[in-house]
């Protein structure tokens, strides 16, 4: 390092830097809008205790099914609970479950996919067959079966949604690894006597991360959707904990005379879906070499 600092930068290498992926990504508005919405959601979720005007579980029979007002912006539900506070707290569950389920799915799926693609042979055939079987279940049905078997609590919910995500990431990581494996630098690594683990996780993995991350942002949205749907059909985090899907379900009984109960949490889900899909599309455009630069 001392040599680096000692050398005077008189002849700086004249590398004309191509616009970085970040610059290209932020040039399109979609990604920025998505990031802003997602960031706001995350802040709301983290700051829920300070932002929520009321305790989300505090019941008040005198104030049940109140329409939106200055005191209760999103109205109140059948138990007189403040819907705004419940939607704010619901963001915690949805984002937490979605984030950890996606993270777990990405980690497990990507590792299995890279190993399977790199090793090939019998390992790859078994993994591919298992992946095909798992992918043939619709995500929701699979999540439903798993939660029904395991029992509805937050850990099992994360586990179930993660398991539904794993085969998709196996497939993406495996396909990208197969393409990467044919590249000359992987041969060069083998000629340098590097072992499988080093090549797989130090050389191949960073090169496929862009695709995994794009997929991850789209699956984050899918995970939140699955969580909400499971909550809606009564297989989410058990009540009285506020979850978006659960609030919609609570409001469903009074949909005709108190539509705000279901509309506001639905809008919250819609906003995070749009945000995550904008992020996913923006990242894909930014990392796709075929995209116009």
């Amino acid at each position: 390092m001392s040599a680096t600092t000692a050398a005077t930068p008189t002849a700086t290498p004249t590398a004309i830097a191509a616009p970085s992926a970040w610059k290209r990504a932020t040039r399109s508005g979609g990604l920025m809008i998505g990031l802003v919405i997602a960031a706001v959601m995350v802040i709301i979720a983290i700051a829920a205790p300070w932002l929520a005007p009321y305790d989300p579980n505090e019941q008040n029979v005198l104030l049940k099914l109140e329409p939106p007002s200055a005191d209760h912006w999103f109205g109140t539900d059948a138990f007189g609970r403040d819907v705004l506070s419940r939607v704010i707290y619901g963001a915690r569950i949805s984002l937490f479950v979605g984030a950890f389920a996606t993270l777990a799915g990405v980690l497990v799926g990507t590792v299995i996919g890279v190993v399977s693609g790199y090793l090939g042979g019998m390992v790859d055939r078994i993994v591919t067959a298992a992946t095909d079987v798992l992918l043939s279940f619709p995500q929701l049905i699979m999540g439903l079966i798993l939660v029904a078997v395991l029992g509805a609590n937050m850990f099992n919910l994360i586990l179930a949604i993660a398991i539904t995500a794993v085969p998709a990431f196996i497939r993406v990581a495996r396909a990208s690894t197969l393409a990467m494996k044919e590249r000359d630098f992987v041969d060069a690594c083998r000629a340098l006597g590097f072992g499988g683990p080093r090549i797989m996780f130090l050389h191949v993995l960073p090169n496929i991360m862009d695709e995994v991350v794009v997929m991850g942002s789209l699956w984050f949205a899918a995970a939140i959707r699955t969580e909400s749907t499971l909550a809606f059909i009564g297989l989410g985090v058990p009540p009285p904990t506020a979850t978006w899907g659960g609030i919609i379900r609570d409001g469903f009984d009074n949909l005709l005379d108190a539509s705000w109960l279901s509309i506001f949490p639905s809008l919250a889900i819609l906003a995070i879906m749009i945000a995550l899909n904008l992020i996913g599309d923006g990242l894909r455009d930014a990392t796709d070499p075929r995209a116009p630069q």
Partner: protein, 338 residues
């Protein structure tokens, strides 16, 4: 076979101390569930500071020979079916995969044809040079980085200190090939295999890279196995030449003898097909036909179908390597060296 065996034994004796010795190497590859000898009974030795050029057109077995030496034949598709390869005293053909792996990148280095794609695009060049030092010599990250900087200076990359953290796409083709050379030489190997090292570079850069290689070879005492189809490159850097055709060595000679008196009809044809500044382009003589695929290779001499000198005997029995005039110059041809 006795002659070949004797020649092999002789070669082994003469080259006991050579960093790279290949004796009777036969490499088979599988096509449609059948195994074909794609490299047949190849023997050579490369001494310290010596450059041996393996020459031939695509599919002649020269790259397969290199892969055999590296122990990198694709499993299930290629295998060494006979012969022995000794690198720095270690028998690579008898070595376990783990010890072969330990040899690669440490005692035997390799540089590739495509410097554009042989570097990892998402890792810094400094890290990639340092990596094999960490892997093979157990250096700490800081030590290895310091050594990587020295290596970048050794291969004359300007402003090395500032470029150690740059990525491959920030380098030109020639500079990337210098990085590849630095990577290959990081662990101070005894043997360097250069597979078409300059084919992807333009001519002036080619000359610079070859000069650098020759200089480093003398300084580090490297045995270089140069694989190329470019006879111009051979003439400028090689000490000895082995011409391969259809998996056979057809001619083996010192570089001066080879260019003065190419003896095998295939060598003659190769030289006649090479453009030269002192002859008009119209005088280029292409070799008629193409290399037969492995299943189509004829019995007897493998070059017979394209050979202008063919006689009946060529189809009957494969010719043996025989001396042709000067010592160290041998040819596989019934007509030229019966």
């Amino acid at each position: 076979m006795n002659v070949a065996a004797a020649a092999r034994a002789g070669a082994a004796e003469a080259s006991a101390a050579a960093p790279l010795v290949v004796e009777g190497l036969t490499t088979s590859i599988r096509i449609d569930r059948r195994w074909f000898d794609a490299v047949r009974d190849v023997s050579f030795a490369v001494q310290q500071r010596e450059t041996l050029a393996l020459v031939g057109e695509s599919g002649c077995g020269k790259s397969l020979t290199a892969l055999s030496v590296m122990g990198l034949l694709p499993a299930g598709v290629g295998r060494i079916s006979a012969g022995r390869i000794t690198v720095d005293g270690v028998d690579m053909t008898a070595a376990s995969e783990a010890s072969a792996q330990a040899m690669r990148g440490d005692r035997i280095g390799m540089i590739f044809q495509e410097p554009m794609t042989s570097l990892n695009p998402v890792l810094t060049v400094g890290f990639q040079i340092a990596e094999s030092l960490i892997e093979h010599h157990g250096m700490s990250g800081r030590q290895a980085r310091q050594r990587a900087l020295e290596l970048m200076e050794l291969v004359r990359i300007p402003a090395a200190a500032q470029r150690i953290d740059a990525y491959a796409h920030q380098f030109s083709g020639g500079m990337r090939q210098r990085v590849m050379i630095a990577i290959a030489l990081a662990c101070a190997p005894k043997v360097l295999i250069a597979d078409e090292p300059t084919t992807a570079l333009d001519v002036t850069i080619q000359a610079q890279v070859l000069a650098l290689l020759a200089d480093l070879q003398q300084r580090e005492g490297l045995a270089v196995l140069l694989i190329t189809h470019n006879l111009g490159v051979v003439a400028s850097v090689a000490d000895r030449v082995i011409v391969m055709y259809g998996g056979d060595v057809v001619e083996s000679a010192d570089v001066d003898a080879f260019f003065a008196r190419p003896t095998h009809p295939y060598s003659e044809a190769l030289l006649a097909a090479m453009p030269r500044v002192d002859r008009s382009a119209a005088a280029l003589a292409p070799i008629p036909g193409q290399v037969p695929t492995l299943p189509e290779l004829p019995a007897g001499c493998r070059f017979q179908s394209r050979c202008p000198l063919r006689v009946d005997r060529c189809a009957e029995r494969p010719p043996l390597m025989a001396l042709a005039g000067s010592p160290g110059h041998s040819v596989r041809c019934w007509v030229r060296a019966p």
